[in-house]
């Protein structure tokens, strides 16, 4: 996805949490994803808009 690196508001990244666990997220800039370690999910950012839906998130596999 070439669009994933579109600018994203840093203040937005500060406030967003995982919708399932309400725990913190880490921003993987290269992948354009917001990672919830606790939920084991990576939420995609498409066209600069975070998609905070568990059903749209990539499931993280052990050790990745």
């Amino acid at each position: 996805m070439s669009e994933t690196n579109a600018t994203i508001d840093p203040r937005l990244l500060e406030i967003l949490v995982c919708p399932l666990t309400k725990g913190p997220l880490t921003y993987d800039r290269a992948a354009g994803e917001l990672i919830s370690e606790k939920a084991g999910l990576a939420y995609p950012i498409r066209d600069g808009i975070p998609i905070m839906l568990p059903e749209e998130a990539r499931v993280l596999t052990e050790g990745s």
Binding site: D9, R11, L12, I15, L16, V17, C18, P19, L20, K22, Y43, R46, D47, G48, I49, P50, I51, M52, L53, P54, E56
Partner: protein
């Protein structure tokens, strides 16, 4: 309820689970409702405002204007606009000197229409956009001064969860506002309104958007939505205080509000 309307509509696969929520007049399982609603909005997204104009004879613009003034926009107040869609509320809030607005919608297509429209009007600063499910917000507790939802709650599967989440993300002293179709309080208009909703609307939907089923859903969902008193009770159950409502156009729509104390 109304079995005639069910006859023509394709039945969703039930997958063995018992239907436990409404999709218009149909009963479906909670798991089924979300994709069905999404399909409706994917279908109507490009012409959503036109649809609202048809459904309300243009009056939704007046209702939204009243709604936004009730939110009391001010530069030092942060707004979470749920089901922000094409962005009418978020943009009006900013135009009236409201503070930063976080616009969310479960439908990325609708949100993109809203963002492009705002950007096209030179409105960029102060807006952020997130695709989110109002039933499980990706926000910490107590971060918003105002939470608004205009014509969105009706389409949510678990309305109680939405109200609990709105309460949770509000700061103490923050206020939740809901604008939604409600129950007409003027008996003499009821028959006209009924005809309008179930005969004229689906026909108009077919002619304008080529999609009468989606419009039928929208008309049915309005009729299935809790009336003024019931919604007020649901808001109280979610923890909101001093819940009140204001009827618009004789109760065709209503503005509900409640505080997080």
């Amino acid at each position: 309820m109304n079995n005639q309307s069910q006859a023509a509509a394709p039945q969703p696969p039930t997958g063995g689970a018992a239907p436990d929520t409404d999709f218009g007049f149909r009963r479906v399982t909670q798991a089924e409702k979300k994709p069905l609603v999404r399909a409706v909005f994917d279908s109507v997204a490009p012409r959503y405002d036109l649809m609202n104009d048809i459904m309300s004879l243009g009056v939704h613009r007046v209702w939204k204007r009243i709604f936004v003034t009730r939110l009391r926009p001010a530069p030092n107040r942060a707004l979470l606009d749920l089901a922000s869609g094409t962005g009418d509320i978020a943009q009006a809030w900013r135009r009236l000197d409201g503070g930063p607005v976080l616009a969310t919608d479960i439908n990325a297509a609708m949100l993109a229409v809203g963002r492009d429209r705002a950007t096209g009007r030179g409105m960029v600063a102060g807006f952020t956009y997130v695709v989110a499910d109002a039933e499980m917000l990706p926000l910490p507790s107590g971060c918003m001064d105002v939470v608004s939802m205009a014509f969105g709650l009706r389409n949510c599967t678990d309305k109680a969860a939405v109200l609990r989440e709105a309460h949770r993300v509000l700061k103490p002293g923050g206020r939740f506002f809901c604008l939604e179709f409600s129950r007409l309080q003027i008996a003499v208009l009821e028959k006209f309104y009924e005809r309008w909703s179930f005969n004229v609307l689906p026909l108009a939907g077919r002619l304008v958007a080529g999609d009468s089923e989606s419009y039928r859903y929208l008309a049915e969902s309005i009729r299935m939505f809790p009336d003024q008193e019931t919604l007020a009770g649901m808001m109280q159950d979610a923890g909101l205080a001093q819940v009140r409502f204001e009827n618009l156009s004789g109760g065709i729509a209503a503005i509900h509000s409640g505080w997080r104390l």
